[in-house]
């Protein structure tokens, strides 16, 4: 009943060809519905995902992949500990908001401002995740709905803050003021890709080292495999859960901070919600069945799907929402083939109320 408890049952490539045919057929029908010229659409897709002048679009894909992989990491840490935290969006938004506010309003040397902004963003994300954890462990609100419901207050709070009290009124849009130029994350030399990706790589290294070489990480994974066993072994299950959630939320907050300091240089209303980063991160993790080394690949794949779809919209007028739709189709077909992917109850209570238990 745990997260990673069986070997993949699918052998050979034959079933996957069927999956591929289905996915392509659905794509075909959707494109037909939009009346798109196929050649132009394909060209637009490729240039949108990988092309552009001096590979500008490829850089966009990479920086989008950075955010998606970051969110995937955050989600993976908690999923592997059996904690179904789907409140990544709220943690991401608050992290981004707090980072932007620190960046705009904290005086001081730029390096310090960036460091403080990122740390504050991580703290905000962590706090939001821990809140959901506390609700589950001490109040009995299932993490699944608790963490999800917390997304909405975070979203509207951020929208209010940059829409009213701390709005850059002169810009005419609901957004915060710009972070001073000196505090922007620099580009890699000769490219238009900011160094935010390094932070995510660092977080990934941390997550893998933590998960596989520390006692703490081992215990967290053990709790994920079997909470009753961990509890019977005398592990502090609650504390482990809260610590794991704090780390997960901190990474989500970090992603928000990267988006602020590296990409948008301010908090714009909806900038972290509209592109569905958090949900794409979850999907990126599910696609590869939570195998850590494959997550960057699937994150890049979905990022390319999204920027490619944007390119297709520019070139052939196919609505870019095709990307989200295809993401869902892919995950339906692939995840339903990976039978090992099951979510059991997490630490404490509040697993799957629908399965088995007394229904009254």
């Amino acid at each position: 009943m745990s997260v990673l408890d069986s070997t993949p049952p699918v052998r050979g490539l034959t079933p996957w060809i069927g999956v591929l045919v289905w996915i392509l057929a659905i794509l075909f029908v959707l494109m037909l519905a939009a009346g798109a010229p196929f050649g132009g659409a394909l060209e637009g897709f490729l240039s949108g995902a990988f092309g552009g002048r001096r590979f500008a679009y490829l850089m966009t894909t990479l920086s989008r992949a950075t955010l998606i992989v970051g969110m995937a990491l955050a989600v993976m840490l908690s999923f592997r500990a059996g904690l179904f935290n789907i409140g990544g969006e709220g943690q991401l938004v608050l992290g981004g908001l707090v980072a932007a506010l620190v960046g705009v309003y904290l005086p001081g040397p730029p390096l310090l401002v960036v460091a403080a902004g990122i740390l504050a963003g991580m703290a905000a994300g962590a706090a939001w995740a821990v809140l959901a954890g506390v609700l589950q462990l001490y109040v009995g609100v299932p993490l699944l709905v608790g963490s999800l419901l917390l997304n909405y207050p975070a979203r509207y709070l951020a929208s209010y803050v940059v829409g009213h009290p701390l709005r850059d009124v002169a810009s005419g849009l609901p957004q915060s003021h710009l972070v001073p130029v000196e505090a922007w994350l620099p580009f890699f030399p000769g490219t238009r890709l900011d160094i935010g990706i390094l932070f995510v790589v660092a977080a990934a290294v941390f997550a893998i080292v933590y998960s596989h070489t520390t006692v703490h990480g081992y215990r967290a994974r053990m709790t994920g495999h079997s909470a009753p066993f961990a509890e019977a072994s005398g592990l502090p299950v609650r504390r482990l859960a809260l610590q794991t959630l704090a780390m997960s939320g901190a990474i989500a907050g970090l992603v928000g901070a990267i988006a602020v300091f590296g990409i948008h240089h301010r908090y714009i209303d909806g900038m972290l919600v509209q592109p569905l980063y958090a949900w794409t991160g979850i999907v990126a993790v599910l696609l590869v069945k939570m195998i850590p080394w494959a997550v960057p690949l699937s994150g890049f794949f979905f990022a390319a799907l999204q920027t490619g779809a944007a390119g297709m919209e520019r070139a052939a007028g196919v609505p870019k929402e095709l990307a989200i739709t295809m993401q869902a189709v892919i995950i339906l077909f692939v995840a339903s083939r990976l039978t090992g992917l099951h979510f059991g109850g997490g630490a404490g209570e509040g697993g799957r109320p629908g399965e088995g238990g007394d229904g009254t």
């Binding site: 519905a33 939009a34 789907i86 109040v139 709070l157 095709l322 869902a328």
Partner: protein
């Protein structure tokens, strides 16, 4: 600002607008819950329902056809859920997340592909539900404006709640449905396939969620907006979890949610920023969830 100002007939009349979609979706969720399907894709079901309702109301020019296409859209979602969760061994949470994404992506995609608009689609050709005025009931003070002058779907929702209560308690098929959730082995021993029962639960859930969407798009207003379900499906999920799918408590708790929802709509007149009134349904849902969970925890401890 006294209470009277909040509880005037206009307020009472607005209650069902908030209650109906959540109640219909939650009843659908209750069917799944009782049949042992962990369906947290209600949000996506409702969104597809809202979109299909506008399709039907626009192309066939009648609210009834809108409701019918909404049911059709919802049932389609239920069948997709069944295909990937029942026929294939997909985890219900994964399938739900995928279906919620699918609904968000597909409705926006089709909105742009079919009507060539982004954001919102409004058109005089969308024929919505007319309020039904019940002569004698309308005259009752306080309750009158709640019970009279509502869309047909409100009465459908109330009827469905009562019907479902009787169905679960008394009817053979209702007992089978509960058995599929509580003791599938017994059902198998009785010669009934739990999978088949769950398939029907998903289909009916889709139909009810479709109607919930229709209430949103062609009864409350006459237009479709991207992501117009706006978390109501999740609130329905919370209601189902809190009541474990029992119809009458479900009705009560949804009324409570609807009350707070319409209250928040009301205080918009007090000059609060819109973000706070937008936030209120979720905060209220969370608050109810916290209080009830805490109370349950205390009682069981």
């Amino acid at each position: 600002m006294g209470l009277e100002a909040l509880f005037d007939p206009a307020f009472a009349a607005s209650l069902p607008r908030f209650i109906t979609p959540i109640l219909l979706a939650a009843l659908g969720g209750a069917l799944c819950e009782r049949a042992g399907v962990f369906n947290i894709a209600l949000e996506g079901f409702v969104l597809v329902g809202a979109f299909s309702a506008v399709l039907g109301a626009y192309f066939f020019g009648s609210a009834a056809m809108g409701a019918l296409t909404a049911v059709f859209g919802g049932v389609l979602m239920g069948l997709i859920f069944a295909e990937f969760h029942l026929r294939r061994p997909g985890d219900p949470i994964v399938v739900s997340i995928a279906l919620n994404l699918l609904a968000a992506g597909l409705t926006t995609y089709l909105l742009r592909a079919i009507f060539d608009v982004a954001g919102a689609f409004r058109d005089p050709a969308i024929v919505g539900f007319e309020p039904i005025h019940i002569p004698l009931v309308a005259a009752i003070p306080l309750v009158g404006p709640v019970l009279s002058g509502q869309s047909a779907l409100f009465y459908v929702a109330l009827g469905a709640a009562v019907f479902m209560h009787v169905f679960f308690a008394r009817h053979r098929l209702g007992l089978r449905l509960r058995a599929a959730g509580e003791n599938p082995a017994a059902l198998v021993a009785g010669g009934v396939s739990p999978e088949r029962v769950r398939l029907w639960a998903l289909v009916l859930c889709g139909a009810l969620c479709g109607l919930a969407g229709a209430q949103l798009s062609i009864a409350n207003v006459n237009l479709f907006v991207e992501n117009m379900s706006a978390g109501r499906g999740w609130i329905a999920v919370v209601a189902v979890l809190l009541t474990r799918g029992r119809p009458l408590p479900l009705l009560a708790i949804v009324c409570l949610f609807g009350f707070v929802d319409s209250l928040s709509f009301r205080v918009q007149g007090l000059g609060w920023p819109q973000q706070f009134t937008d936030m209120m349904p979720y905060v209220a849902t969370l608050a109810v969830l916290v209080v009830l969970s805490w109370w349950r925890l205390r009682r069981s401890a």
